[in-house]
Symmetry: C2
Subunit: 221 residues, 2 copies
DNA sequence: TGTAAATTCAAACAAACGTTTGAGTCAATA
DNA sequence: TATTGACTCAAACGTTTGTTTGAATTTACA
């Protein structure tokens, strides 16, 4: 196992390997895999091109490392949902924190999230792995919480629709970032604005769940 | 002005220019600008490479043409919102139809929408133009409808948040397509499934608007 | 200090990219 | 038939891409 990556972001006095990794993470997250060249990474990281091959084999290996290494496994977050005593409010708080917290201060977390979101739209090949290990368990955990709070005994398509719409609001904070920054930047800029956005997401999610509950009540009469 | 592009999708017996344009639209929409090569387009369209330069100047010109030509201006859709007599229900129906209808049968409309959504995540340079001409007016029109139905006299950040969350659900049908197809494909496959998704989106949006209305009521006591 | 491994470096590599060339083909017109 | 303009084609262009090379340099350890 490699040493745990230093989480401090001042990108100076880092070991070459870490400097490359963080620079690559930033460029991949901002520009995507194709638009980012190894020369650009090497230049910005102030290392020789061949250092990339030396440490990571090739560009794809670097991408994979940037994708996997900086963040630990997301299982901790998922266990949050598995707690049977968790309230709906708490579950939603935790869910959306995964989207809003990275936008606050932690540049590393933000870049990691951005990269993972990008993989959703621009699959590079790690996608199949990511959807199985990262997204699907999350979706399943959310389904379990929703199923419980709607008093259902099986997951149906409409529950999938509800889960998808709830997650969509969080995803959009990253996917639609450029648009948001142009149209209403304040809602993702600064801690207070983000906290307020977080509260609204929770509120909206709760209202959607309530609406779905009512719809099912009406259908079952 | 060029002749209007034929909207029929059987890609045979088309003029070379149209064949290139439709093939490029498909590949750009599926793979993005960078991953799509002019050779790939030429091969799939069964034309010589240099035909692309002949008809469109260069790759960027072809992309621009594929981005702009197939769809007319979206002003018709926006005028839908400007009707002062429109109900909230109708406005939301119209809004989400813009996302669900292209997924039904119309392959051309679906590719166009996908390409425009992709531009949001992977800006190529047309982005600034698209956000000004395509997205911003839409967002503004939605804000007007929401403002009216919440009885507000000015647009504030929380109204932006509401609008963003509503739009996010529609956008996610395209941005998260691959994920959806893996986790719950039925909600975007087939007309009946899409119709049901459409109805849920409207219902969720209405519940979010209601929640926001109640929140403001509580704040103002 | 001496030796071997680890790391860095400038340079070159083949392949793929977008683009251009110039001869060639075809249909229409005079 | 001769000529023009629209269009097609195989081939080559110059760049940039990711990758590799092999010698230099630094580091670690006996």
């Amino acid at each position: 196992m490699k040493d745990k990556l230093k989480l401090s972001m001042p990108e100076q006095d880092l070991q070459p390997r870490e400097k490359i990794l963080l620079t690559a993470l930033e460029l991949f997250a901002e520009q995507g895999f194709e638009r980012t060249t190894v020369r650009q990474i090497a230049r910005k990281a102030e290392v020789n091109i061949s250092a990339i091959a030396y440490y990571f084999g090739d560009k794809a290996g670097l991408y994979q490392a940037a994708f996997v290494e900086p963040l630990g496994s997301p299982k901790d977050d998922i266990e949050l949902f598995n707690d049977p005593n968790i309230s709906l409010e708490e579950a939603l708080q935790g869910l959306f924190s995964g989207f809003t917290e990275p936008l606050k201060q932690d540049k590393l977390a933000m870049l990691c999230t951005r990269l993972h979101m990008r993989e959703m739209v621009e699959p590079t090949g790690l996608w199949a792995q990511e959807i199985d290990n990262g997204i699907a368990p999350y979706h399943q955990a959310l389904l379990v919480v929703l199923k419980k709070h709607l008093y259902l005994n099986k997951v149906d398509d409409d529950l999938h629709r509800l889960a998808m719409c709830i997650v969509a609001m969080g995803v959009h904070l990253f996917v639609g970032r450029d648009v948001i920054e142009k149209l209403c930047p304040k809602i993702i800029a600064g801690n207070s604005g983000l906290n307020q956005t977080h509260d609204r997401l929770v509120m909206f999610a709760k209202s959607m769940i309530e609406a779905e509950k009512n719809r099912r009540k009406q259908v079952n009469v």
